[in-house]
Amino acid sequence: MTEQQSAIPTSPRPRTLNGYDRLMRRFDARRIRRVCALTWLWIVVAAIYAPILVVIGASVDPGEDVAGMRAFLVFPPRGFSLEWYFNIHPRLWHGLWVSISMATVSCAFGLLLGVPAALGLIRGNFPGKIVLGTLFRAPLQMPFIVIGVAFLQGYYAIGNMFGIQIVATFTGLVIGHVFVATPYVVAAVGVQLQRFNPAMEEAALIHGASRWSTFRRITVPIIMPGIYAGGLYAFLVSFADVTISLFLSGPNATPFPVMVLFSIEEDFEPTIPAMATIVFFGSLVLLLIVQRLVGLNVLLRGGGSNA
């Protein structure tokens, strides 16, 4: 067989692959799999971004008069105009301010409660540790709507019992969000703590470092990625939440996402797509800054595994 082939050269360059071989090489199983996997990946990423891109599109759509109404919620946009950006309703700016301050404060309190909790849960040695860990994780098991209902009714009860009014206030919003944000911090910092050997702290102590300087120079640097990751997730949960906020917000404390929901349900505020676009690019810049400061891989590794 081989002799026959070499005896009768079928092409000027016998080593060249014929068309069939070339085809097979191009479409060998491994390659097909790779192409399919990558195609699917990009389809899914496109699907994740599709609604966001559509809203960005709507934000630059000049709109068209249809039966006396300004119709612009169509994709693709029928033109380009930045008109909406200059007329953003002041109420929306206030909503964004509420969202940012609420998420920042919730994140700060989440860290204040979560970091010591993680240190105690991982480093501590006491009976009932597992039960305590479960209790700290409990908010993750509760549907958000139940949390919203429970906190609203809890606030009414506080109002009736002590006369302190936190229904529909900024404080009320923050307390509800701290409740759901803390477990994320505990998880992220906990993962980081579990990774390193407690012997490092003991070594520092043996070598004469004080308790405080051991904490500051050994423990804190080690849990730092966990703090960043947990803090980011805590901020995110509060910033993007609608469900809990819907129950706890009031006329003077309505976060931006709740405004969007009201607007979709009732009369539509046309500058919302413009505002949403600003929020999206704002988060992008924020994340780039975080990336510059600590690196995103640290964030994803620290937070992704348990949060």
Binding site: A47, I48, N125, I145, S283
Partner: protein, 284 residues
């Protein structure tokens, strides 16, 4: 010296417990009082609300629908996300981080905005619907908003980015050498998936799925907006009963039903998983 580390969590624990127990106690108590209108509660302690909630098909159907929806969405999300998470986990770190970062950025955008985007995308005059109609793939009566598939699309969209991020960190822990070993020994690709990758990522897959199940069971923005008020899931009923009808008792009853339902499903699945794992260990 070690005991100090235990003491450090006492303040967090106390505050955490107040936040956990007080609101729950208040709303569980409210669930045992009847609503007498105008946001007022009766003053006799009884289980009338629970009797209504468990017997009236209006409520039981909503709970069934909610369960059906959540399980469908969880399985759909896994089917979509698992291959994606696997591909990202096996990419070069630079590309993987870039794609993951893009997904994290999308998580900053609130559900309300995404739902708005979905409404525009599937709107009757939008390019997508017009093209599909012209190609004859969909008929004139086609609608996404206000239908069950619409709600499923919205909830799955919500789940995918969460699932990809979580599964990425799970699959990353499966060493590539194990896959190669299986392949060298002649395992076909599907067999490598079925006998190596999936079993090794199963614990992470199950805990992530449960978390997603909890989220979807309580998610109501997509159900409310994409369902157009026609798809009455349990969270939608809770929101309507509390914020529109001001039924503090009934909304508390429904919330506690949802909570107990979700918690028991979590407990049962964790129990089943440990049983299955124990059985498998006994066999091998």
């Amino acid at each position: 010296m070690r005991a100090n580390w235990g003491l450090i969590l006492v303040p967090s624990f106390l505050i955490g417990m107040i936040m956990l127990i007080f609101p729950q106690a208040v709303f569980l108590r409210a669930s045992f009082f009847e609503d007498i209108g105008l946001g007022l509660l009766g003053n006799t302690f009884n289980i009338a609300n629970y009797v209504i909630a468990f017997t009236d098909p209006y409520y039981t159907d909503a709970l069934k629908l909610n369960f059906f929806l959540s399980t469908t969405v969880v399985f759909l999300t896994i089917a979509v996300s698992f291959p994606v998470a696997y591909t990202i986990a096996r990419m070069t770190p630079k590309w993987a981080m870039l794609i993951l970062a893009a997904i994290v950025v999308s998580a900053f955008v609130s559900v309300a905005i995404k739902v708005l985007g979905i409404i525009i995308l599937f709107g009757g005059d939008g390019a997508l619907v017009v093209t599909l109609k012209r190609l004859g793939i969909i008929g004139d009566g086609f609608a996404v908003i206000g239908t069950l598939p619409g709600v499923i699309i919205g909830l799955t969209h919500l789940g995918i980015s969460f699932m990809v991020l979580m599964l990425f960190s799970v699959i990353q822990t499966v060493p590539r050498s194990l896959e190669e070993a299986a392949e060298i020994h002649g395992a076909a690709r599907w067999r490598v998936y079925w006998r190596v990758i999936i079993p090794l990522s199963l614990p992470g897959l199950i805990s992530t799925s449960l978390l997603l199940f909890n989220i979807i069971m309580g998610a109501f923005v997509s159900a409310l907006v994409l369902g157009g008020g026609k798809i009455l899931t349990f969270p939608v009923l809770i929101q309507q009963s509390l914020l529109i009808h001001l039924e503090y008792g009934m909304s508390a009853t429904l919330s506690s039903m949802l909570l107990i339902f979700v918690l028991s499903i979590n407990v049962v699945s964790v129990f089943l998983v440990t049983r299955i794992r124990a059985a498998r260990l006994a066999v091998t």
